[in-house]
C-alpha cells in the first residue's frame, strides 16, 4: 500500500504494463524526454527506451492510425492525446476505424488500442484545454470508455485497459492529477466496467464520474448536515454504463441526480436519465435531475468557476428533486 497522486498512479500503472508485456508501447506528443505535459509518462522513455516510449510527429490522426496498424501486428499501443480539445484530428480514425475493425472483420480482428485523454476543466487554462467530450465517443459502438476518480482506480484501470481485447479510451480527470490516495499495488481494483457505490444513502442517489466524484461526495456530506442521506455512485465506466448498479440504488432511494462537466444537452446524463426513468419508473418520486455544463463552448478561465458544476449546483438539483 502506497500513497500517491493520480498522475503518479497512472505513471506506475503504465510502468507495470510496459514491464509486464513487451508488446506494449506508449505513443504521443512530448511523452518521451519531457514525460508528457503533465509528466504522467515521466521517466518511462529513459527506462524502456525510444522504441517503447515513442515521441511521435505532431499529428493525432497519425498517432491513432499507426497505433491501429501496430495493434494489427500484435502490439498494444497506449496513445496519449495531449488535451481533450486536441483529440478531434484523430476522431475519424477512432470512429470509423478503431471502433469498427472488429465488426468489419466479423470478429476476426482485434485492435486493443488504449487512448489516454486528460479531460475536464477547472485548471484555468486556455481554449480547448478543459473540455469533456466523452459523449462523442460513447455513442459509437465498439469502443469502451472508462474514467478513474482516485489513485487506486487510476493505477489499476490503465492496466486493465491495456489487457482488454477491445479498444479502450481512458479519460483522465486532469484537475485531479494531484489528488492523493492509497494504492494497493497487489490487489486489482474491481472490474473497470462496473460502477461503485462510494457512499450509502437512502433519500436520493447522485451519480458522477471522473472529476466530479469528489464534488458529489462533498455535496452528500453537506446534505447530510441538513439531515438528508445521499447515496453516491462513481460510474467509472461511461461505455458501457453499469445501469444495474444505478437502478438498484434508485429503486431504493427514489430520486436521482446525475452530474457531469460535459454540457447537459446531448450529454450522457440524458442517457442515464432516460434509461433510469424507464427502468425505475414506478420507483421514481421525482424526475431525474441533470447537472452539467451549459450549451456553450467551455468558457474562458475567468468565468469557469461559475460554469463548472460544484457542490451548490448538486445541492440545488437535490433540492429540486426533493421538491416533488
Amino acid at each position: 500500500m502506497a500513497t500517491m497522486t493520480i498522475a503518479k498512479a497512472i505513471n506506475e500503472g503504465l510502468r507495470a504494463s510496459l514491464a509486464h508485456d513487451p508488446k506494449t508501447l506508449l505513443m504521443g506528443e512530448d511523452i518521451g524526454e519531457l514525460g508528457g505535459v503533465y509528466r504522467v509518462t515521466d521517466g518511462l522513455k529513459r527506462e524502456f527506451g525510444a522504441m517503447r516510449v515513442v515521441d511521435t510527429p505532431l499529428a493525432e490522426s497519425g498517432i491513432i492510425g499507426t497505433a491501429i496498424g501496430l495493434a494489427l501486428r500484435g502490439y498494444r499501443p497506449i496513445c496519449e492525446i495531449q488535451f481533450d480539445g486536441f483529440v478531434f484530428p484523430g476522431f475519424n480514425q477512432i470512429t470509423t476505424q478503431l471502433a469498427k475493425l472488429r465488426t468489419r472483420s466479423d470478429g476476426m480482428l482485434s485492435a486493443p488500442v488504449v487512448i489516454r485523454i486528460p479531460y475536464g476543466g477547472g485548471i484555468g487554462s486556455v481554449e480547448h484545454h478543459s473540455e469533456s467530450p466523452e459523449a462523442l465517443f460513447a455513442h459509437t459502438a465498439g469502443l469502451r470508455i472508462i474514467t478513474p476518480s482516485n489513485p487506486q482506480d487510476a493505477y489499476w484501470m490503465i492496466q486493465q485497459a491495456v489487457t482488454c481485447e477491445d479498444p479502450v479510451i481512458v479519460f483522465e480527470p486532469k484537475r485531479r492529477y494531484w489528488l492523493k490516495g492509497d494504492v494497493d499495488t497487489r490487489t486489482p481494483a474491481a472490474d473497470p466496467f462496473t460502477a461503485q457505490v462510494l457512499r450509502r444513502g437512502s433519500d436520493a442517489t447522485v451519480v458522477a464520474y471522473g472529476p466530479l466524484v469528489p464534488v458529489a461526495l462533498a455535496a452528500a456530506a453537506a446534505a447530510a448536515e441538513d439531515g438528508r442521506s445521499i447515496e453516491v455512485i462513481d460510474l467509472r465506466s461511461i461505455s458501457p454504463i453499469d445501469f444495474d448498479t444505478v437502478t438498484a440504488s434508485v429503486t431504493r432511494t427514489g430520486r436521482l441526480v446525475v452530474a457531469h462537466e460535459a454540457p447537459t444537452f446531448g450529454g450522457l446524463g440524458g442517457e442515464i436519465a432516460a434509461r433510469i426513468s424507464e427502468w425505475a419508473f414506478l420507483s421514481l418520486e421525482a424526475p431525474v435531475i441533470r447537472v452539467g455544463g451549459f450549451h456553450m463552448p467551455y468558457p474562458v478561465a475567468r468565468v469557469e468557476e461559475q460554469y463548472l458544476p460544484d457542490i451548490d449546483r448538486i445541492l440545488e438539483a437535490l433540492d429540486r428533486a426533493f421538491a416533488y
Partner: protein, 406 residues
Amino acid sequence: MNASRLPAAEFEAEEVLRAAHAADVGRDQEPGGEMLQVLSSDGSMAGGMAAEVAGSTVDFAPYLSATDAPHLRSLYRDMFLIRRFDQESTALQRQGQLALWVPLTGQEAAQIGSGRALQPQDYAFPTYREHGVALTRGVRFDEILRLFRGVTNGGWDPRERNFHLYTLVLAAQSLHAVGYAMGMQRDQLADPSLPQGVSVAYFGDGASSEGDIHESMVFAASFDAPVVFFCQNNQWAISVPSSVQTKVPLAKRAEGYGFPGVRVDGNDVVAVEAVMRWALEHARTGKGPVLIEAYTYRMSAHTTADDPTKYRLSRDEQEWQTRDPLARLEAYLRTAGLADESFFEELGAEARSMATDLREAVLSMTAPDLESRFAAVYAEPHPLVQEELRFFQQYEAGFADEGKHA
C-alpha cells in the same frame, strides 16, 4: 487561375467537358520522360530501364522479368483472370446479385505487377478496388464478392492472406500500413532472424489529397518505416480529374518527405513489377519508405452506380483503349513467340469455368442474421449489447409466437 475554372454556362455540353479538361490532357496524359516504362503500348519491349531517383541513377535491370517467359505468361494469366472476374462481377451486379461492384479494368498491370512483387511476409493494405492484388495474395474471388453482396464488410481472414480488409474511408488504411510497418520493424529488432517484412499502402489519386496520406508519409519518414506507398493514379476520383488533386506528378510528393518517389507506367506490368521489387528491397533493407505512382486509367465506371459519360469524353476513353495493359502483353507474348495459341485458349477456358464457379458461389452465399452481429462488436462481454440482444430476440420471438401487427 486557369480557364477551366471560369463560368461555362454559355457552352454546350460536349464543349463544356472539352473546355473543362483542356488543361488536363496536356498535363496528365503526357507525363514525359519521367514515367518508367519497358513494355510500350504497341507491345514492344525495351532492353532496360533506368532513372534518376532522389538524386542518383537507379538501374532497374536487375529487377526486370522481361525475358522470363513462364513468368510473363503467369503475369498475363493473372491479369486475364482478374479482368474476367471483373466482367463477371459487373454482370452479377446488373442481374441484381450484387449490391454494387467496383470495376478494376485498366488497372490490372498496376495491381498484378505490384502484388506479384510482394514476398510472403509482406502485408498489403488495399482500398476497395484492389481485386488484382487480392488475387496475388491468395484471396478467393468469391471471398471478395461477399462484401459486394452485402453479407459482410470483410470477407477473408487478413492474417492468413497478409492482405488487409478493404477500407472504404479513403486514406485511412495508409496510416494502418505505416503502423504495421513500425510493428514489423520492432519484430525484427526483437528477433533479427525473422525475414524483414514490408507493408504496402494502396491508395488512389483522389485519396492522395486526404490529410491521412500526409500524416502516413510523415510518420513513415520519421521512423524509417519499411513501407511502400503505392498510388494508382487512374486519372479520376469518381468524376473529378486528378488535375484537381495535383498539378504535378504525385510521385513528386515523396521528395518533400525526403524519400524516393517514382512514376511508372501503370499499364506496363513488367515495369510495375520491377519498380515494386526495387522499392520493396529499398524498404526491406532499412532504407525507409518509397512512393510509387502507377500512372494508369480507370477504363470503366467508378462503380456500377456511376455514369462516366456525365463527366468524361469518350475520346479520352478510346485513347486509353490503345494503352490497354493486357493487349500489349499479349502482343509481346505473341510476337516474341513466348506463348502460342493454345496458351490463350486454355486460359480462356480456365476463365470461363472460374466464372461459372463464381456465379454458383455467389448465389449460394448465405446472409448472416442480425442476431449474429451482436457478437461481433466487442471481444469481451458487454452488458448493453447483451441487453439489446435479449430485447431483439424477444421482439422477434413475439412475431413468431403470435403473428403481430402489419
